[in-house]
Symmetry: C2
Subunit: 377 residues, 2 copies
């Protein structure tokens, strides 16, 4: 194997695989990236056996072949090289020699045949999906997924197709048992998703990286990403790069029965004002529970906290409310996480009593809600 590649193209490929490879894997080949050539360039692959990424980058190939070397070391080396052409050749015993201007690196590799095969996927299975909607759905749900290994069926986002009032709808839901976030997008379709699948958090975050944060380019809003389900994997393709995420096997809980339908005490609040208040009062919440007390009465909501070591805090917000008095406890961090992914100027905080979950919705925007379980006062 022998090829020449511009530093910037190689660096882009190596940056792509860094978040997939495991730093301290017990299986050495999983720290490596697989490098394969074809006539047009090189393909880089990395996998942790659950999430995989694969991308093609232009290079001038003089001898085809494949090698596998440490993804981190190769990235560190290429990052420090001058903006110039890099020459890479395969040596004996799976070593490679990389040279660039006056630098020469000999890098130990592992037999590329040991590299685990990726799940198969066919180009025909891909369906287009709007990037902007996918990004928004991931951002608004993934934070609520559980990170506890024992609750493996909650370690991802439930992705499902359904029909709401005759409209085809795509739904994403995530919960860690203490809070939940749900978003619906009507007018979008997929196939074979009526039962729903659970996509792991890491895979979704890789897909979000794949489609970008949308910050830079206005025109990107019309772009499409290509999605498919194959061999128990969720697959996303964008601009020649493919991310594969192995679905979580297990039942997603019956989230719908958890969402209260009769929270009749509705309080409309400025999202910024509510966020600032929660940040302040949370400082005095105990570090474990982060419990805040919400007292609602005619025209005002008081938020308070106390911690044995440092003291207490209380803040009032004027609100339009005329119902009966209510006191209820919630985790301040969960409410802040939910407020952070909403974009409307105002939010609606929907409550019932001290034993019922609270709901937070962006005011005037259908299809998104965050639920927070109540805490004992």
């Amino acid at each position: 194997m022998e090829f020449r590649i511009q530093k910037k193209n190689f660096l882009r490929g190596l940056a792509m695989v860094q978040t997939i490879v495991e730093r301290r894997s017990t299986i050495p080949i999983l720290s490596n990236t697989l490098l394969e050539t074809d006539r047009k360039g090189i393909t880089l692959t990395a996998t942790d056996l659950e999430t995989a990424i694969r991308g093609h980058f232009p290079a001038s190939v003089t001898l085809e072949g494949k090698v596998s070397v440490s993804a981190r070391k190769l990235f560190e080396i290429v990052r420090e090289l001058p903006e110039s052409e890099i020459h890479l050749t395969k040596r004996e015993n799976h070593w490679i020699t990389l040279s660039c201007q006056k630098s020469v690196f000999n890098i130990a590799g592992i037999n590329p045949e040991e590299f685990p095969p990726l799940p198969k996927f066919t180009e025909e299975d891909f369906r287009p999906f709007p990037i902007r909607e996918l990004r928004e759905m991931i951002e608004r749900t993934v934070f609520a997924a559980s990170t506890e290994e024992s609750r493996y069926n909650l370690n991802g986002v439930f992705f499902k197709e359904l029909n709401i009032d005759g409209q085809p709808t795509i739904r994403m839901v995530a919960t860690d048992g203490h809070r939940l976030s749900l978003i619906d997008k009507t007018g979008l379709q997929f196939s074979n998703l009526e039962k729903g699948v659970i996509i792991p958090k890491k895979g979704l975050l890789e897909i979000k990286r794949l489609i970008g944060d949308g910050g830079q380019r206005e025109e990107e809003q019309e772009d499409l990403v290509y999605l498919s389900l194959s061999e128990n994997n969720f697959v996303a393709k964008n601009r020649g790069i493919v991310v594969l995420s192995r679905l979580i096997e297990g039942e997603f809980p019956d989230y719908d029965s958890v969402i209260p339908k009769e929270n009749d005490k509705k309080i409309t609040l400025s999202r910024d004002r509510f966020t600032a208040c929660l940040k302040r009062v949370s400082i005095m919440a105990s570090e474990k529970g982060e419990g805040l007390v919400f007292q609602i009465q005619n025209g005002s909501m008081a938020v308070s906290s106390s911690t044995q070591d440092f003291g207490d805090a209380k803040e009032e917000i004027d609100v339009e409310y005329t119902g009966e008095d209510l006191a209820v406890g919630f985790n301040g961090r969960y409410l802040l996480d939910a407020l952070a992914v909403m974009e409307t100027e105002e939010v609606v905080f929907e409550l019932k009593d001290s034993a019922t979950a609270g709901l937070l919705r962006p005011a005037g925007e259908k299809g998104h809600l965050c639920l927070v379980m109540p805490m004992k006062l």
Copy 2:
């Protein structure tokens, strides 16, 4: 005690004390800041018993007094408050109540009489010193001080007055036993520094924070900081804020005898080029020793490294050199640290043989040198 203070002034004071207070101190009062009032405002003090800081900030005081509360909690609270006036009053049992617009915080305190007294210093002892020179001397030496607790006499920078060719000179030297950095500034004077003192690293970093990084204001280059030695403390004062640093008791080693005087093999290098080469080759140095091999021969210097797990690296730099061949080992990290504090376009690398320390000097600039001990090849 009762006063009103603008958020921005209070925040500036609380930010000032954050790096001094110990996060997990076994002595609770050391996590606190002492807050004292006078007719013009408030004085904030923090200490870890080795480094202390004290500053005055404008406030409208209606009742004088003093309190001591958690520096971290108070900072977190004030940081989240709106840009508005803060009202603070002392309550019973050393508690304070802080309010701002619609937020009220009750914060537990500790009897301020328990706060350790600061070392005494008198205004008359302060001597002016140019800020720019002090900043440069700290930056160019402090990185070489030891962080090993057992080598307490190397945990700081040696600060000394001497006479070089009839010129009064101020010197700073730091070493960790493996490398050393020395800087002389002629034409500057101090008093009672002939024997020299050892100022701890933490104290010097606080003084550097006190005088700023000089990035923003051109006119600051003429500013003066006021320094003194009193009660075994090095004291620096700038714009109403005082930093006190308890001197390290102990002998600073005889550094002068360690600096080789006969390194006749002199190689002039572009600082950027040398830095880039060392960064690249260091990637393949073993993570413990970071040893690089330097081979010098007619017209070229080769830098190489190797690690059992990942492979090896080698890079050549064209240099003007016509002496005998030489191979010597040095720690790449130490050379990079030294190059990072130099500012000239070129540096001179001075060597003798494989058993002699190497010297690095900014080309054409007197008074600064970095020494690196050789490593076995």
